[in-house]
């Protein structure tokens, strides 16, 4: 009933109001140039080789720091996947420097400070955040967490059981399943695609944590970023006092297996009773900040990474209403290639349509390139938003530390921006032709094949994955 009454309102909707006459069109607005040079962190070196980047910011009485350590999760042995992150968790939670886990927790929480540790595929890290008034006490705890962990046996068991429970629950989250299984297939035997299972977590003993820490957490493999309310020289002296007695030793990085850049193109299917399908298509790609990466990142921005205005988003979401989450991505690889992939989370009945659309958009980039307007949009987006890299002093200091740890060339980002400004339509199409491989995609689908609009075999050889 309600709806038919509303018919009478329609004539009102046809009255298109223009904006007030004195408003300029947005394209006519001009903007004063921005004159800003970002604060630069200071680099210092402690007596044992630990590198420190410092950046003062006296606006609030807070100090935060992160120690980045060249102990990434890709160092995990195949039968102990999860070792790096398990180690990080126990640095923080297993007691250190003779303090029990409870003592550390109580003291930090009473001081409203935090010390946290984690590991990812690029590095391990141990950070703190403190009110300036009690930074000395927090640095002392953070120091012990970083270099003098006690690895309490009981805490290790608690963590192991929590990890097993989390693994059990991954199956409840279809996106997590899809992502996990997809990157495992893209990396085909390389540790960057490994994931923890109950078996790998159960295989990790206390001695493995002790060994991992002893082997990789070394002064020469550690770079610290610290920012906030301090005087630089005084802080370097504090850090020297805290960490200077950490003896330097040679670090031997493990030899990672070769990365296969061309995994077998296949369709992988995980059956799950869902309304939607999680679709991922992609393949390994280029190294971060190589020449090809610079061009490909712009191509990818236009294709699906550039938000609302990108092609995949416009076609699959805005025009067709087939997804809330869709787009593409180009991950950054440093020791091994990054991945290119496109994705959509769409109702099961449109699974085939969406896979075909994702592939079609990749092909269209190769066949017809991009328009001047698209290239201009992408260029302006990247260049004009670059200022946001320099808003937070903590982020500036952290980036300087990571750049040195990962071995990126100095000024890499400035050169990237210069490259983006000069990039041509032809270069975009060339990089798409050379680096995108729509005929060699690894395709992952999590969903319920009974409601799909097309058989997955339309897109290649189908392998069904049975979840444990």
């Amino acid at each position: 009933m309600r709806r038919f009454l509303l018919l009478t309102l329609i004539p009102l909707a046809t009255l298109a109001l223009a904006q007030p006459a004195d408003w300029p069109h947005p394209s006519e607005l001009s903007f004063a140039p921005i004159d800003f040079s970002a604060p630069e962190p200071t680099r210092a070196e402690l007596s044992n080789g630990v590198v420190v980047y410092l950046l003062e910011n006296r606006s609030l009485p807070l100090i935060s720091a992160t120690a980045y350590v060249d102990a990434p999760a890709v160092f995990d042995p195949a039968d102990m996947v999860g070792l790096a992150s398990f180690t990080a968790s126990q640095l923080r939670e297993g007691g250190s420097g003779g303090r029990t886990p409870e003592e550390i927790d109580l003291r930090l929480e009473f001081l409203a400070a935090s010390v946290e540790a984690s590991a990812n595929d690029a590095f391990s890290s141990v950070g703190f955040s403190a009110l300036a008034e009690n930074v000395d006490e927090v640095i002392a705890i953070w120091r012990d967490v970083l270099i003098a962990p006690d690895f309490d046996a009981e805490r290790i068991e608690i963590e192991r059981q929590r990890r097993i429970e989390s693994i059990r629950r991954v199956v409840d989250d279809p996106v997590q399943i899809a992502v996990r299984e997809f990157f495992f297939r893209l990396a085909e035997g390389h540790p960057s695609g490994f994931y923890s299972t109950e078996a790998t977590v159960s295989a990790i003993g206390r001695n493995d944590l002790v060994d991992f820490h002893a082997r990789y957490f070394q002064p020469g493999a550690t770079i610290i970023a610290i920012s906030g309310d301090f005087d630089g020289e005084t802080m370097v002296a504090k850090l020297e006092a805290a960490l200077g007695d950490w003896p330097a030793a040679e670090v031997e990085r493990p030899q990672l297996p070769a990365f296969n850049p061309t995994p077998t193109p296949r369709v992988y299917y995980v059956e799950k009773d869902l309304q939607q399908s999680i679709v991922l298509v992609g393949h390994p790609s280029v190294f971060a900040y190589s020449d090809a990466y610079n061009d490909l990142s712009v191509a990818n921005d236009i294709l699906g990474a550039g938000g609302f205005s990108s092609r995949i988003f416009t076609e699959i979401r805005t025009r067709r209403g087939l997804a809330y989450s869709t787009g593409s991505a180009l991950s950054q690889g440093f020791d091994y290639p990054g991945n290119f992939y496109a994705f959509s989370i769409s109702r099961g009945e449109a699974t085939g349509e969406v896979i075909a659309l994702l592939i079609e958009e990749i092909r269209r980039l190769q066949d017809s390139g991009v328009s001047d307007a698209e290239l201009e949009r992408s260029r302006e987006t990247i260049v004009n938003s670059a200022i946001f890299r320099d808003v937070s002093v903590a982020a500036i200091a952290a980036r300087a530390a990571r750049v040195e740890l990962l071995g990126l060339p100095e000024g890499y980002y400035r050169r990237y921006l210069e490259n983006v400004q000069g990039i041509t339509r032809d270069e975009i199409q060339q990089v798409a032709l050379q680096q995108l491989r729509p005929d060699e995609l690894v395709i992952m689908v999590v969903g319920n094949a009974e409601i799909f609009d097309r058989p997955l075999s339309d897109f290649g050889e189908v392998i069904s994955i049975e979840l444990e």
Binding site: R3, A13, S309, Y324
Partner: protein, 490 residues
């Protein structure tokens, strides 16, 4: 220890006063003639501005049968205006009107027509849709903001409020004002019907294929009998599938007025210059009526409610107790109870359930859910660690509640959470977008932006006796709703 403790309390009070003064020195507060509240917060470390435009409009304001329309309108606020995104405003307006006629005709035929009539109406709808969409850009606002360096463009709709956020280089302030004043002045409801499908996908993703979303939707429906907090902000599947652009536009026209909004800018602002720009654009908008329909109030709960939800996933449990919202003092007391129970590794529930008896993978509590404009719930939520089951967590939750009822909390424990509250406010002052959203929230629902820091005095004055008293009154059997998600038994 004793001496140290006294020193800490003194520092706490000094620091809170200094923080309040520091914030007040940086804020310029103006209300335009049309009622729009504007806060400019100087944070000049970098030439950028975080913008937050928040309306006290949310799902609680929706008429029956149009659940989720506030959220749908939020999506439409990205679609542009006649001068932003249209290729031919007059032709587009005519095409959109034609599309509405085709939509209503299709809906009618679907209920009364035969297959041929439905096919014809569908074809007419598709043609009208194509024609209208051919006259406009797909995402003109994103396009304008992104190419001007905008980052973090986003919006969210809750039960109480709707927020629009973006950060821009500081020299783009006029662009922001031009775009968002125009959005309020005359949003064009273009690309509406595909967007309705997008929202339907959003619901599938968050509330249907996600066990937690599924559990919480059922739980709120049980915990509230009459108040609209019982409804999911995204709406039901049937409601979403039935929206028309006309209905969404009517909701927009009824609620999106400058006098129901606060605009916060945090960053490299120059108050005098910037207010003139804001006034030039936003000042054009007309104030709306102050009228606000009051939702039905929730009757007092007289007995425990329990519900088991079957879903193919590992088990979860959620328990909620009705409680008053701010500025009732109980609401502040319960914020501290929340921190005592679950904030950090030394909190009572984490220590007991995750570390000591190891019955839980994780637990959390929340002191104000699902909104704050009206009286709400204190939540306990937990994921059992096999072989433990939700009922084991339930028992542990009640034990810990009884322990506070019986023995209260320690002085040091209370001081710990007070320190944490102060530090979290202080840390919040360091961010741009986070500070903007906290100030907007306090201005609309917390009695004024100053209370972001000013409330620290309330927290500081809370005593151990009060905590025990509130826990005794609120956490009672007849006042709770328990929902458990488990697999269906085979």
């Amino acid at each position: 220890m004793k001496v140290r403790y006294v020193v800490f309390v003194l520092l706490w009070l000094l620091a809170a006063t200094a923080m309040a003064q520091d914030l007040a020195d940086r804020v310029t507060e103006v209300t335009l003639d049309n009622g729009l509240r504007v806060l400019l917060v100087e944070q000049t470390s970098a030439p950028v501005i975080a913008f937050n435009l928040t309306f006290d409009v949310g799902a609680v304001d929706e008429p029956e049968g149009l659940g989720g329309i506030a959220h749908m309108v939020e999506h439409m606020a990205f679609k542009g205006t006649p001068s932003i995104g249209s290729l031919d405003p007059e032709a587009e307006a005519a095409a959109l009107a034609k599309l509405e006629v085709a939509t209503l005709a299709l809906e009618r035929v679907r209920s009364v027509g035969d297959a041929d009539e439905i096919a014809a109406a569908e074809a007419a709808f598709a043609q009208a849709l194509d024609e209208a969409q051919g006259l406009a850009q797909a995402s003109p606002i994103d396009n304008l903001l992104a190419t001007n360096g905008g980052v973090g463009l986003n919006a969210s709709t809750g039960l109480d409020f709707t927020s629009y956020v973006v950060s821009l280089p500081a020299n783009r302030l006029e662009l922001y004002a031009r775009i968002y004043a125009d959005v309020l002045f005359d949003t064009t409801f273009r690309y509406f019907y595909p967007e309705r499908d997008v929202v339907r996908e959003e619901r599938r993703q968050r509330n249907e294929d996600d066990p937690q979303g599924f559990l919480f939707e059922a739980f709120l429906g049980e915990a509230f009998e009459r108040h609209p907090y019982r409804r999911p902000p995204v709406g039901s599947a049937e409601e979403i599938e039935g929206y028309t652009a006309t209905e969404a536009e009517a909701f927009f026209d009824a609620f999106y007025h400058p006098n129901r909004a606060v605009l916060v800018l945090v960053g490299d602002v120059d108050p005098e210059r910037d207010l003139a720009i804001i006034e030039r654009y936003f000042g054009v908008l007309a104030a709306g009526p102050d009228f606000r329909p009051r939702p039905p109030s929730e009757p007092e709960q007289m007995a425990e409610r329990r519900r088991t939800v079957n879903y193919d996933a590992e088990p979860q449990i959620v328990i909620g107790y009705h409680k008053p919202t701010y500025p009732d003092r109980d609401a502040f007391v319960l914020d501290l109870v929340d921190a005592i129970l679950s904030s950090g590794r030394t909190s009572r529930l984490f220590q007991r359930m995750v570390i000591d008896d190891q019955s839980a993978l994780d637990i959390t509590t929340t002191s104000a859910f699902p909104g704050v404009r009206y009286d709400n719930l204190f939540l306990f939520y937990g994921l059992p660690r096999a072989p433990f089951v939700p009922e084991d967590l339930e028992t542990a939750f009640y034990d810990e509640i009884e322990r506070i009822k019986r023995a209260g909390v320690d002085a040091e424990e209370l001081q710990k959470v007070k320190n944490q509250v102060r530090a979290s406010v202080l840390r919040g002052l360091a961010s741009g977008s986070g500070l903007a959203s906290s100030l907007a929230f306090n201005e609309l629902f917390g009695g004024g932006w100053e209370n972001l820091v000013g409330d620290l005095e309330i927290y500081d004055s809370i005593t151990r006796d009060e905590i025990q008293d509130v826990v005794r009154r609120v956490f009672t059997e007849e006042n709770r709703t328990v929902s458990i998600l488990v697999r269906e038994e085979e």
